[in-house]
Symmetry: C2
């Protein structure tokens, strides 16, 4: 391959990496703002989160398109092929993280008028804090090709599941204590499920990083084998 | 390109199509059995659905791997490239349909012991009937490259959303009527959300069929612009 082609190929991969980093930044911000909006019942902030999602969708389409065209044009092998596949997978997971954050924001708009039970939000904030830290670690692991960090993300997902378990029980208790809590708490139940699923997509990203660096898929058994309400983990990345 | 290569390439695409059809059949069966298990609180059947999911995951990995290798080896253009991309996308959506059916089955195992409120299941059955028909139509549209059929699936998704709206209100009413219904109905709320999301993935498949045949993405505005509980639609297929 000529130097010219090699350089333009490196540029393709660099561009993919930069766009993933941009998506990661947007997804992190959406998650943080969605939680802030929920905690303060801030409808204006929630609406800003909903609007931000369009940029994430557009970036995902760009990344998927560029990665597939790179595969078709350059016929990459081994690590280079994995770079393209990883970009497609990670952009898909980040797009879903944004979607789930948007979903929390939409619920905030819906329930802001019937705000009650501030203590019900506390458990969700704990879930958010873990989810946000995990997402940051997964994105750093990708940026630095750091397998050990990716592995720790993979292992720590169990903590988020345990928190969801506890939030689920608390919300059910609030509903049983007072029927006026039912509608409000139902929305919070879905928010907690969304946070748990953000954790699943973050774990997917960690698995993709491990696959990218090592070429090996993770074992199919995740640390999490159950979810408090019967929700299943998103299956791990394919062993390509 | 020599005849030999062209034939082996056609074989690649044929194999992809056959595996998608197999995945479609498994996903349809899982959905039907998950609903039967829930309606009859049949734990044995529910456990069978949970086990069936592994085959779907394996098929998705196979399809993704084959499609990407085909892109890298054959450098297909236009319709042939779209065939590969469509296979990756549709297998991803079918894998998620299976996952959501498995999730319903897992909840069935969990709530079978506290079975109550048969009338609460009726709305879910209506949702299932629409979702199953939509999935069948989307798979037929793919098998026959039938754009009109795909378009009707895309439009009819609004019906499933309206049904979820009604199920959501009914379940909330049951919970308010009697606190002993709360835990049970909470699980049904998640089941109804799963059925609605199966509809979203089915709509994705329809969009992919339209893109496959016409090369054009669908407009980003779906017929559904809202969800009764703030849930957002999964974004449409990327315009590759």
């Amino acid at each position: 391959m000529s130097d010219h082609i090699v350089k333009s190929y490196d540029r393709d991969l660099e561009t993919l990496g930069r766009r993933i980093a941009e998506m990661g930044g947007i997804a992190e911000k959406m998650l943080a703002e969605a939680m802030d909006a929920l905690a303060a019942f801030d409808v204006t902030l929630a609406q800003r989160v909903v609007v931000a999602d369009a940029r994430l969708d557009a970036l995902q389409r760009d990344i998927e398109e560029s990665a597939i065209l790179t595969i078709a044009r350059r016929q990459p092998l081994a690590i280079d092929l994995r770079e393209c596949i990883a970009a497609i997978r990670i952009s898909g997971d980040l797009e879903r993280v944004g979607d789930l954050a948007k979903n929390i924001a939409k619920r905030t708009v819906k329930i802001a008028g019937e705000a009650r039970l501030p203590r019900a939000i506390i458990g969700l904030k704990s879930m958010h804090d873990v989810a946000a830290l995990q997402l940051k670690d997964a994105l750093d692991a990708y940026a630095q090709r750091d397998v050990e960090r990716a592995r720790s993300v993979w292992i720590n997902d169990a903590e988020l599941d345990a928190l969801e378990d506890s939030v689920f029980r608390d919300l059910l208790t609030f509903m049983m204590e007072d029927p006026r809590n039912i509608s409000f708490c139902t929305h919070l139940l879905f928010c907690s499920k969304n946070l748990e699923r953000i954790g699943d997509h973050t774990t997917n990203i960690a698995e993709t990083v491990i696959y990218l660096v090592t070429g090996e898929p993770m074992p199919t058994d995740r640390p999490k084998t159950r979810s408090p309400d019967g929700g299943g983990a998103i299956p791990p990345a394919a062993p390509l």
